[in-house]
């Protein structure tokens, strides 16, 4: 085969391929089936709160990574809240004892029963 003839055949093949179009026939009731599938997906009920909670308890919480993070976060929150509450209580008590000290010495700062 001559090289010129090969080149010519290739060009013809390309031209034929460009012009070739495929028009496969759609399956019967194709449109109707598509609309039915859309309708079915829209009609599915949203997951209920109870269902979501059940799924959370059954699937999400028992995962080791989630369980560890949950317990760790609550522990840290408990420690922080306890420390802050103790700090506030100590501050209040310090102020009240300071006032008691002053009232024990300064009659002008004492209660209304003192002169």
């Amino acid at each position: 085969m001559k090289p010129n003839q090969t080149l010519e055949d290739d060009q013809r093949l390309r031209q034929v391929l460009r012009q070739w179009t495929v028009n496969p026939p759609l399956p019967p009731r194709f449109k109707e089936q598509v609309w039915q599938r859309i309708a079915r997906s829209e009609a599915q009920p949203a997951p209920s709160l109870r269902g979501s909670l059940a799924r959370l308890l059954e699937v999400v919480v028992p995962r080791p990574r989630f369980a560890f993070s949950y317990v760790a976060v609550l522990l840290v929150l408990g420690v922080a809240a306890g420390s802050l509450a103790a700090q506030a209580k100590t501050k209040r008590l310090d102020e009240s004892l300071g006032l008691r000290y002053v009232q024990s010495l300064d009659p002008y700062r004492a209660g209304p029963s003192n002169p």
């Binding site: 369980a67 408990g78 000290y101």
Partner: protein, 167 residues
């Protein structure tokens, strides 16, 4: 589901235990102080970082001051009662009312001077830095900070009189 609920509950229990534990530990020193015989003096020891010897000396000063203070207050109260009695009968200013007013003012001044002397005695018993801090603190907390009467005659700026007495 049971495992998940157990983990949730465990987390809540741990958080509650952590809160209670840290609150209990954080307030332990306060509870100890309140159980003592004189919590306000225990507070003074803690607040101004006093040694045991300094605290013992200040407790002595405190104990010695209180009866004298009570006696002065008693005398002022007697003068106040006498003044109320005189005012209930008087329609004009009398020499006796003036005398009682002056006498009560003198006793109050004496009371304030003794109080000031006590504060200075206490501050000298403390380490110098704490003593200065103590004096600054009592100045804010006591009669030394100023009276409502004086404050009333000043505007917020503190320099111009807000109003003048009618002469």
């Amino acid at each position: 589901m049971k495992k998940g609920a157990t983990i949730l509950l465990l987390g809540l229990l741990l958080a509650t235990a952590a809160f209670c534990g840290f609150y209990y530990l954080g307030t332990a020193s306060c509870r100890r102080m309140m159980r003592g015989p004189q919590p306000e003096l225990a507070w003074l020891k803690k607040e101004f970082k006093l040694s045991d010897a300094e605290f013992a000396r200040i407790s002595q000063l405190h104990a010695a001051y209180l009866p004298q203070c009570a006696a002065r207050c008693q005398r002022i109260e007697e003068q106040s009662q006498r003044l109320r009695q005189l005012l209930s009968q008087a329609t004009n200013m009398t020499r006796e009312i003036q005398f009682v007013l002056a006498e009560r003012a003198r006793m109050r001044a004496e009371c304030e001077a003794e109080m000031m002397k006590h504060f200075l005695d206490v501050s000298r018993t403390m380490p110098p830095e704490q003593g200065r801090r103590y004096l600054a603190w009592v100045e804010k907390q006591t009669f030394l900070h100023g009276q409502a009467m004086e404050d009333r005659h000043h505007t917020e700026g503190g320099s111009q009189p807000a109003h003048q007495h009618q002469m």
